[in-house]
Amino acid sequence: MTTSELTLPAAKATKVKRRRVMGAGKQLHAGPVTYVVLTIFALVSLAPLVWTAIAASRTDRRLAQTPPPLWFGGNLFKNMQAAWDQAGLGTAMFNSVIVAGTITVSTVLFATLAGFAFAKLRFRFSGLLLLLTIGTMMIPPQLAVVPLYLWMSNFGWSNQLQTVILPSLVTAFGTFFMRQYLVQALPSELIEAARVDGASSIRIVWHVVFPAARPAMAVLGLLTFVFAWNDFLWPIIALNQQNPTVQVALNSLGTGYVPDQAVIMAGALLGTLPLLIAFLLFGKQIVGGIMQGAIKG
């Protein structure tokens, strides 16, 4: 559609004109004002991150002076090194990769299995169980942390990674997300055909469900990883600076563990970098996933 419009400028002009008259909001081309306003939004979105890098490349003393620095200085790597060593960001990154990675794999796997059962299989109480899943989707983490803390103390698990991994291995959102996707993306006759061929349920999951669910699994994986990487409340209760995740290390930075503002900014930048890279690589998929979840949710 776009290419035909490009090759036929005359047709394009009349088309646009007609649309302007019709005013069908959806197809309207953006005018200059739209681009200006969008640019302002984009600047507001990006400026704090860019300024984090600027501040991280300066010195603590320079950051206390007016006017604040507007361009990069020469201390970026020195400050990053300091954040890496003093705030334990090295350990923190390693821990966060393990925690978020495990949570992502398990959430996607179990959500796909449960989502498939809810979408395509008949079993007793399925309606009730699905309702329970949806109804409890939004329970705040605050309602779990006191018992979790007491159990953790009982097991002598404080400061160990499994304490932050175990409670997050599944999410109600994930299961609901996969169910909504599979309801329409997985044709029932495909399952029927596999059954007629004598395939067991496990074979059907492996050869029919997983291939059909792959795009949604990828998106859920990305969303889960972002969520797990940024999770805050339970990790700062369960872990401390001895064995932190990235967010725990950033919390220590913010509460005066290292008093150098430039180093703190370097830490914030380092802790965000993995997700920024992920957004750079998979931004389209993440955007698509959020929009997909929105329509169906």
């Binding site: 449960a114 079993f123 329970i139 605050q142 006191v146 029932s188 006759e189 349920s201 913010g254 509460t255």
Partner: protein, 341 residues
Amino acid sequence: MTSSKQALAHPASSAEAAPGTPPGAARGAHGRGTPAGTDSWRSRLYRWDMKASPYAFVAPFFVLFGAFTLVPLLYTAWYSLHNVQLSALDHQTWAGLDNYRNLLSSDFFWNALKNTFTIGLISTVPQLLAALGLAHLLNYRLRGSTVWRVVMLTPYATSVAAATLVFTLLYSWDGGMINWILHFVGVDPVNWRESDWGSQFAVSSIVIWRWTGYNALIYLAAMQAIPTDLYESAALDGANRWQQFRHVTIPQLRPTILFTIVVSTIGATQLFGEVLLFGGVSGSKGGSEHQYQTLGLYMYDQGWIIGNLGKASAIAWSMFLILLIVAAVNLLLTRRLRKSQ
């Protein structure tokens, strides 16, 4: 659509075996040579597989979800009726409703409730309005539409902790970027951390920054699902673009708007990381006058700084009750909405 597809598929498959019939049984009917014992064993296995596998597939999810979400929810209620101290975890004594009574008579609880409400309001309303406007712009046919969307979502990639550390520096009284920008328009330096409304505004701005793009994408998805002919008939009736937005887009978006209001309200009720880190070293107090101590922060303060886990549980359950009320109001509104349509 699915049913018609199934209807088409049926004749073909029923020629061999009715759908749902065990393959073993079908084969058994024709192949007389095979011993009946294996056949019935296979068909029994098949039937067992059909019956049990759905439960096997939902079991991992429900076991983990139950153990780490539903059971703790109930345990929190149980602990809220007990005296549980961080210093003596094994000595839990029955306290009845003492923790709740204690809360209701505590100024700090009401203060936290009030702060949660005001910060929730000044973070949610501008955020959703901006998201609605942004979604409208993103809905135009744009050059590089994906790039625009990803850019608007980058704040979402920034964790609460990282974002708050940066904003705290931007908002610093002396030499902070925001006060420096404000001095150009003749505004005296604002003490964002100490002042009442200043600190609440600053905290809200972090929430707004992180979530506007995300909500815009949700609105955008809903806008793209609005049938074009609605706009065309509105245009034929002579509605201009603003009127179309007002009388077509907004009513069509109403369920989505309600959804985002609920999600944002839930987020606002549990607001924690932003206010904890904005306080810097003072941390869980939420400022020298508790001016931005939210319920989430108050719970953390009472539970892990003061060390009263029973009271913390009671605060958690009050948050849950507030959310239940929100859910009930939402349900009522949705019903009314459906009736009016």
